[in-house]
């Protein structure tokens, strides 16, 4: 028997085993009691099947095979989740089925919540109408009701306000030993402080503690500390020979910064930005849980308070989409600014 035939038989055997297992349980009326172990075993056997198939995928179909696994498996999990909900294996209060979450997502997208005077995206389909009625100001009012835009606005503002000064201070601390020695301990201490813990203090400092100011500042602070530490590390880990080459070839202080230090530190700076983005998301969602009348975090928490679980999940999905989009943006920026990395 050739290896292909062997594996074909094995796959067939595995398939029969899965069908047999579930069939036997169903026939004996015990499927509901043993559903979870049976599903777990099925997943393990599925891995074995895919392994056998994977051995014989020709090189040119390799990409498709890998895509199928990477996208097909999550799709399968969603399908099992949906089925488990329908068969009452899991409580829809804790794990509403994906279809319900999808409907809820659609629902929060198209409806305007009169109580909180918000909507998910700011009802963009009304933009032409509002523009005719009230011009750009009218569109502004419309978009200002959006949860997503509120959260994105806070993250962007906080990110810029934290990252730019953080990178600048990080460069100074990387170059200058005196400044580094003076600030390093303090920064290390602030670094371990959960940034959300600063929020009450920041609220205290603002005339309007519940306004946008404290929310943006607490994100900025979190990003600032991270970016300072990362940039400093980036500058300090530049190969000394590049600094020597820069000096030897006549670079002045500003030229050193522009041609050697910043590009040399850029990989670590970008690693820092990715971590900072994650932290910024954590901070902004927590802040919106605590004190906000708007924002994706607020929306998620709001649906906890009124107990609509599928809309809570819809909130989580929106947060995920936001995170993925912002990370993608950062990747794009990195490719633009660092063309020398593959």
């Amino acid at each position: 028997m050739t290896p292909v035939q062997q594996d074909r038989r094995a796959v067939l055997g595995f398939l029969l085993a899965i069908v047999g297992l579930h069939g036997a349980l169903t026939l004996s009326g015990q499927w509901h009691d043993w559903a979870w172990p049976a599903i777990a075993v099925s997943f393990i056997v599925l891995v074995l099947i895919c392994e056998r198939i994977g051995r014989h995928v020709p090189l040119r179909a390799r990409k498709i095979y890998e895509r199928t696994l990477a996208l097909g498996f999550p799709a399968l999990v969603l399908a099992v989740w949906e089925m488990a909900g329908a068969m009452e294996l899991i409580s829809p209060v804790w794990f509403p089925p994906p279809s319900a979450i999808g409907r809820a997502l659609w629902d929060v997208t198209v409806t305007y919540d009169r109580f909180s005077e918000t909507s998910l995206l700011g009802r963009p389909w009304l933009i032409p109408q509002e523009f005719r009625a009230g011009g750009l100001a009218g569109v502004g009012v419309l978009l200002s009701e959006s949860h997503v835009l509120a959260t994105i606005g806070r993250v962007f503002a906080g990110f810029l306000l934290g990252a730019i000064p953080g990178i600048l201070l990080g460069v100074v601390m990387g170059i200058n030993q005196t400044v580094r020695l003076m600030l390093d301990t303090t920064l290390a201490a602030i670094y371990v402080l959960p940034k959300i813990a600063i929020f009450p203090v920041v609220m205290l400092m603002f005339a309007d503690p519940f306004g946008e100011g404290p929310k943006i500042v607490v994100v900025a602070l979190a990003v600032f500390v991270l970016m300072t530490i990362n940039t400093m590390t980036g500058v300090r880990t530049i190969e000394p020979v590049y600094l020597m080459a820069g000096r030897n070839y006549g670079a002045g202080p500003l030229q050193m910064l522009r041609h050697v230090i910043l590009p040399g530190a850029l990989p670590v700076i970008f690693a820092g930005l990715r971590i900072a983005l994650g932290t910024a998301m954590i901070v902004i969602i927590s802040v919106e849980f605590l004190r906000a009348k708007q924002g994706v975090g607020f929306m998620t928490y709001y649906y906890w308070e009124v107990l609509i679980p599928e809309k809570m999940y819809a909130g989580l999905v929106v947060v995920m989409i936001l995170g993925v989009t912002l990370t993608g943006l950062l990747h794009w920026l990195q490719r633009r600014l660092m063309p020398w990395k593959r």
Binding site: E239, Y242, M244, A245, Y249, H259, W340
Partner: protein, 264 residues
């Protein structure tokens, strides 16, 4: 060469002492030497003999503890005094090949057009024209070191300082680059100080070979290499080459043994 009254490089009792936790460490001790204009000087010695320290002092990248070390400026005050070719290449990964070669000129404020022209000319001469817009990670180690060498040459310094430039390369690439160095040097006749741990390389390339001792780094002996130019890899088969190599090796091997014993 030695008849030139005004040396290009003049070292007078140059000493370098490092402060370490366990006291002073003399890296270079009482180093006195002149290098004539257009001379190729090779410095060999066991590792840790302070030859790289001497080069870095010459490049102005480290201070001299005592003594005098000067490079005589040329007629054009804008010409840089020295450019270093580093062992680790030290070409910037974030710049393309041609941007790297044009770097020194850019730092001196030469217009983009002109500096790219000069850089392209040098890339042509070492067969890297095709790779002008590649990034360093896309080319081989031998190519990287070629880029590093023409970056120094494009800068057109008074003195070229080379710190074990071929030390990190494999044996075959090394031979190819030795030939290339010979060819380029015989065309340009720059004043060169060339640090190497390879005796053959020193004898092959150098007009004079300085042999250094380890810890403290002192001049043991200076050899005039009287082998006619143009030289090539074939030069290594000449009886004269073998004689120089043998003579220097006798001194060097004793020194290497001593250095190894000191490290234990």
């Amino acid at each position: 060469m030695a008849s030139n009254p005004a040396p290009k490089i003049s070292a007078r009792n140059v000493t370098k002492v490092y402060e370490t936790a366990s006291g002073h460490m003399t890296a270079v001790d009482d180093f006195t030497l002149d290098v004539a204009e257009g001379e190729f000087l090779a410095i060999v010695g066991p590792s840790g003999c302070g030859k790289s320290t001497f080069l870095r002092m010459l490049a102005g990248l480290e201070d001299v503890s005592s003594g005098q070390l000067t490079i005589r400026p040329g007629t054009d005050p804008k010409t840089p005094l020295n450019s270093v070719v580093f062992q680790e290449y030290a070409i910037f990964p974030w710049k393309t090949v041609i941007q790297n070669v044009a770097f020194g000129l850019q730092m001196r404020g030469v217009s983009e057009r002109e500096r790219l022209d000069v850089a392209q000319g040098w890339l042509d001469r070492v067969g890297l024209a095709k790779f002008a817009d590649h990034y360093p990670h896309q080319i081989s180690g031998g190519m990287k070191q070629r880029v590093s060498i023409v970056r120094a040459l494009a800068n057109d310094p008074e003195v070229l300082l080379m710190d074990e430039p071929l030390g990190a390369l494999d044996a075959q690439t090394r031979v190819v680059l030795q030939e290339e160095l010979l060819r380029i040097w015989e065309e340009t006749r720059k004043t060169v100080v060339y640090i190497t741990h390879s005796l053959e390389e020193a004898v092959l390339l150098g007009d004079r070979v300085v042999l250094m001792s380890a810890q403290p780094g002192r001049i043991l002996e200076v050899y005039d290499i009287d082998i006619p130019r143009p030289r090539s890899i074939e030069t290594m088969n000449l009886p004269a080459f073998a004689l120089y190599r043998g003579a220097i090796w006798d001194r060097l091997s004793a020194e290497v043994t001593r250095a190894m014993e000191m490290q234990q």
